[in-house]
């Protein structure tokens, strides 16, 4: 609203200027900026086609292989085997084959092209609100870092809801973050490369229909190609039958190998549907009775029939990401991919009342972030920097806090956190963060991750005022030296923030 007002006021002033000068061309030009569709600004790693109507994963090579296999095998079947079979047996065979083929193709395309149930990332306001809640929950109780999980009781079973650092939301139950597509997906089953997409809540039924119909099609083709060869060999002999119809050999080979995997997969998913589990849950054994006597699946409807109906014929939820909608230019949009730093900037702007203590905290956070990130970014290319700097006499951020001794230990850097171990930040170099985060969260953006995690570490540091003030000056001292070391490195906004932080620190 505020922005809209200032825009309108600006427009008013602008129009005043334009009446004075003689360039009316500029005003219409400004209004004609084309509106972007939301898919163009989508933060995940998906590919969009047909102006946002079609949505697929980034790697689609295997999908084209699937398509080629199906088209070629069926094409050969209809061209070489069907005429003979239609003539000598019944013309219904190609008809059934055709129907099956169309069904398979339809369900495959539907699975591959639709939104699997991607959860849109949190807006900056939502993320800030969640952060505030987490801060409040931890604030005065000491330096215990937040677990970033919520527990919820569903139908008598305790389920842990995890916080997704990329999407900045607490994941709903059964949702999971796909590292290949970089999205949280509702009722995440698995990422299928054959289909070129994730399989989740919205396209699971299509996926199941696809593998089921493909099993039937494979068995159908296999059976009738064998029949064709047998019929021919009755007349002409086996070898000449093979010579007359070489395509059949290829089809038999493809179908033979496909049958085992496809039929097996269909059987597996039939079991999953009847027990209302996802592949994810089954592999982890979340609801297995082996885990405990009282462990059961809270989502199951009780009987197989209801479970099947619910999965296959239940209501189809709409897409939550609104790919073809237009981006609202007046609402502040987070620039994808979001990292902790930009979001942090937004949070800071919302906090209008900042006392000196807060400023000190913020500044220290900026400095710590800035200090840690160049190390991480350079880690892959120049690991030497970490070892070199102590020799230069310039202390690393970790070493710095160690040298400060007493006052700085009041900062809760010594507290272990499950995924993001804060001790590694203070005592060891930030290099430790890379493998830990990469492992814990299974994201393939190691450079981004530590930054984001680092950001989330800092709100956990709620130091007591005296401890903080003690830390303030010595940190400022050692870090001003470091700023000199890092300044020539790059013109990052991160470095701007760190410089700003340093200025504030020195003023404390």
């Amino acid at each position: 609203m505020h922005l809209g007002v200032s825009e309108s006021m600006r427009e008013c002033e602008y129009s005043q200027i334009s009446t004075r000068s003689s360039t009316p061309m500029e005003t219409p030009y400004k209004k004609k900026t084309p509106k972007k569709r939301k898919w163009e600004a989508f933060p995940g790693r998906n590919k969009f086609y047909c102006d946002g109507r079609i949505m697929m994963a980034k790697q689609t090579g295997v999908f084209y292989l699937t398509l080629v296999l199906i088209l070629v095998t069926c094409g050969l079947f209809f061209t070489f085997d069907c005429p003979y079979l239609a003539q000598h047996l019944t013309p219904i065979i190609p008809v059934i084959g055709g129907v099956l083929f169309l069904f398979v193709l339809g369900t495959l395309l539907r699975t591959s092209f639709s939104d699997p149930g991607v959860l849109p990332r949190a807006t900056s306001d939502e993320a800030a609100d969640l952060e505030r809640q987490i801060d409040v929950a931890n604030g005065s109780t000491g330096y215990r870092p937040p677990p970033r999980t919520k527990e919820v009781v569903i139908n008598g079973q305790t389920v842990k809801l995890k916080y997704c650092f990329t999407c900045k939301i607490f994941r709903p139950p059964r949702a999971s973050h796909c590292s290949l597509c970089d999205n949280c997906v509702e009722r995440f089953d698995h990422h299928c490369p054959w289909v070129g997409n994730c399989v989740g809540r919205r396209n699971y039924r299509f996926f199941y229909m696809f593998i089921l119909s493909l099993s039937f099609l494979t068995i159908f083709i296999f059976a009738f190609v064998i029949t064709h060869i047998i019929l021919r060999s009755h007349r002409n002999g086996f070898l000449s039958a093979l010579k007359d119809s070489p395509a059949s050999v290829l089809e038999v080979v493809v179908c033979f190998f496909s049958v085992w995997s496809i039929v097996g997969l269909s059987g597996f998913h039939t079991y999953l549907i009847s027990s209302n589990q996802t592949t994810n849950e089954d592999i982890k054994g979340s609801w297995s009775s082996k885990r405990g006597k009282d462990n059961y699946n809270p989502y199951s409807h009780g009987n197989i029939f209801t479970n099947c109906c619910a999965a296959l014929c239940g209501p189809l939820p709409p897409s939550l990401i609104d790919r073809r909608g237009f981006v609202q230019s007046d609402t502040p949009q987070l620039a994808p991919p979001t990292n902790g730093i930009t979001m942090y900037g937004a949070t800071q702007s919302q906090q209008s009342h900042m006392c000196d203590q807060d400023q000190c905290i913020q500044s220290t956070k900026f400095v710590l972030q800035a200090a840690a990130t160049p190390l991480l970014q350079q880690q892959s290319s120049e690991p030497v920097i970490l070892t070199a700097s102590p020799e230069n006499g310039v202390p690393l951020p970790g070493r710095t806090s160690l040298t400060l001794g007493g006052p700085c230990t009041s900062l809760p850097l010594g507290q272990p956190t499950p995924p993001t171990s804060t001790p590694s930040l203070s005592c060891h170099e930030a290099t430790d963060m890379l493998p830990i985060h990469g492992h814990a969260h299974n994201h393939s953006h190691p450079l981004q991750e530590p930054v984001a995690h680092h950001h989330f570490l800092t709100p956990e540091e709620v130091p007591s005022p005296p401890g903080m003030l003690h830390c303030g000056s010595p940190l400022g001292h050692s870090h001003t030296v470091q700023a000199g070391f890092y300044n020539p490195a790059s013109q990052d906004s991160l470095h701007e923030d760190s410089v700003r932080g340093l200025v504030k620190l020195s003023s404390v």
């Binding site: 609203m1 007002v5 609100d129 569903i154 139908n155 709903p172 109906c309 209501p315 709409p318």
Partner: protein
């Protein structure tokens, strides 16, 4: 010209004071339900009962959208038989209920929330994660936040 800008300022909409987010309630599983707990920030503006009624109605509407019953099964089977092409001309049951929800929220905003300087955002615009309640600065009283 100065006069113009002043009158524009009077006409401008009030600034956003803060936003309250009503999170999802997962205690009944994965169905769409929002917490009915009354947020403390709204205490000065709104009746607890009013708020709870709004959220409860929303919850009921979402339950209706996701209900498993004869009608939804029929729609599902019909869709499957027509290879889901039927949705090119027909709206799904869920989409119909979402439209109903949008109308309800608009109605609630006009009647109850806007007069109190509040605005409900349709959860679908937030990926069904939260019900966002925007609190506007109360200019008439004079003291904002």
């Amino acid at each position: 010209f100065l006069v113009q800008t002043h009158s524009l300022q009077d006409l401008q909409q009030p600034a956003v004071s803060s936003k309250v987010f009503v999170q999802r309630d997962y205690s009944s599983g994965t169905i769409c339900r929002f917490q009915t707990k009354f947020p403390s920030e709204l205490e000065s503006r709104l009746d607890k009962q009013q708020f709870e009624e709004t959220i409860q109605t929303l919850n009921n509407l979402y339950a209706e959208a996701e209900k498993l019953g004869g009608k939804s099964y029929l729609e599902g089977c019909l869709a499957c038989l027509t290879a889901y092409t039927i949705f090119l001309c027909m709206e799904t049951h869920y989409e119909k209920v979402l439209k109903k929800i949008a109308r309800y929220i608009k109605d609630q905003n006009e009647k109850i929330y806007a007069p109190r300087g509040l605005l409900l955002t349709d959860p679908i615009e937030r990926g069904l994660r939260v019900v966002e309640v925007t609190i506007f600065e109360d200019r008439s009283i004079g003291s904002g936040r």
